[in-house]
């Protein structure tokens, strides 16, 4: 089981995911980079500026 670093949601990586692949956390939607069999880290997503 992998754990999302942002929200702590635990989930099974889809079977054919490879290292370096970007997936999104089912619960908080953060973009995660697969770093190992059951490990992910937050993918460097540039925060779009709203210009508000």
């Amino acid at each position: 089981m992998a754990e999302c670093p942002v929200c702590g949601y635990e989930f099974d990586l889809p079977p054919n995911t490879e290292e370096g692949e970007i997936i999104s956390c089912e619960d908080c939607g953060s973009e995660l980079e697969v770093t190992g069999k059951d490990s992910v880290q937050e993918a460097p997503a540039e925060e779009e500026d709203w210009g508000e």
């Binding site: 942002v6 929200c7 702590g8 619960d27 908080c28 939607g29 973009e31 997503a45 779009e48």
Partner: protein, 340 residues
């Protein structure tokens, strides 16, 4: 199952009628309005044209049904309770008459003695997420206030789990729409005066604060500002969490408490236009969207609802579904519009 709506000419009654006319397990038997008796309901609810040919009846003409929804002005449900309880086993009251468990608190906030204090324990407070088990065996439901609902649903998991630090004050500020005032026109709701307002209409002393304290077990310092909006509430709550609580713990708490709730969505995203809860997207839906951000151990929680739906009619139908054993989302599946 047969249901009737008492006080069906107002915005809350009209929204109830819209939902119940399309509810898979329910047939609307009568809709009452003393002022509009004999008139077609579509006169007051033009969106229902071609949906129904019903006319308004009088309360005196009420016939026996399985459930009566009461959407009368405050104190009316209390005064006429007996007229309803003899005609239906189940009652869902949208007013504030039976919300507060303590008659003294009621008197303090509503300036009048409660007429049926002995009935108060029989009414279950209308937030299904907090009172589902009690509702399964209840006969009477009291709909929760709209501002209270938005604030309570946003904060409840943090108090239930003990993450919130109640040593510090909790501040909640609601941005509200004009439909909260109901369909009676007034000087202040006259379009040239109301349009474009950012009106601090209740900086302090809003009655809903009493319900928030009752349900959260802690006082909430509540203010309401009405803005350019017809439907919708966005509450921004400001509180502190205990030392050492991290963002992950907040996510986990909401997931544990609300995990499979059909009408709660956690909205906290880093991309897209709507990254936090947005009330206009919820118009006509029964959703409460909740988002949050941390700043050290200070927490800001944002919660949005449609005051006429999750804050009134939608919540009432949801509670009826639980009380009568229907699937909870029956009649409440509308997804909301975008763009709107």
């Amino acid at each position: 199952m047969k249901v009737s709506i008492v006080g069906a000419s107002g915005y809350g009654g009209g929204e109830l009628l819209r939902l119940l006319l399309q509810h898979p397990h329910v047939e609307v038997h009568q809709c009452t309005s003393e002022r509009n008796a004999g008139k077609p309901v579509t006169r007051l609810h033009p969106n229902l044209r071609k949906q129904t040919k019903m006319n308004f009846a009088r309360i005196a003409e009420l016939e026996e049904v399985d459930c009566i929804f009461v959407a009368l002005p405050h104190t009316e449900a209390m005064k006429r309770f007996h007229q309803f309880s003899v005609r239906a086993d189940r009652i869902v009251d949208l007013s504030a008459d039976f919300r507060l468990k303590d008659p003294e608190t009621y008197k303090h906030w509503y300036g009048t003695d409660h007429l049926l204090p002995e009935r108060l324990p029989e009414f279950v407070y209308g937030n299904v997420e907090l009172h589902r088990e009690e509702m399964k065996t209840a006969k009477y439901i009291s709909g929760a206030g709209c501002n209270a609902t938005a604030t309570i649903l946003g904060l409840w998991p943090l108090f239930k789990s003990g993450l919130a630090d109640s040593a510090y004050p909790v501040v909640a500020e609601a941005k509200c729409g004009s439909s909260e005032g109901g369909n009676r026109a007034s000087e202040a709701s006259h379009h040239p005066e109301r349009s474009g307002c950012v009106r601090s209409y209740k900086p302090t002393g809003h009655r809903h604060a009493a319900e928030m304290a009752q349900e959260l077990g802690t006082p909430v310092h509540f203010s309401a500002t009405s803005i350019e909006m017809v439907r919708g509430i966005l509450v921004t709550a400001h509180l502190f969490v205990k030392e050492g609580v991290a963002e992950k713990d907040i996510w986990k708490t909401y997931r544990q408490v609300y995990g499979d709730e059909p009408f709660i969505r956690i909205i906290k995203e880093k991309q897209g236009i709507y990254r936090y809860p947005e009330p206009k997207l919820l118009s006509g839906t029964n959703y409460c969207d909740i988002g949050f951000e941390m700043d050290g151990n200070r927490l800001v929680v944002m919660s949005a609802i449609d005051n006429l739906m999750k804050g009134a009619a939608g919540q009432a139908v949801h509670a009826m579904n639980v009380m009568c054993g229907f699937e909870e989302t029956a009649g409440l599946g509308f997804a909301g519009l975008h763009p709107i």
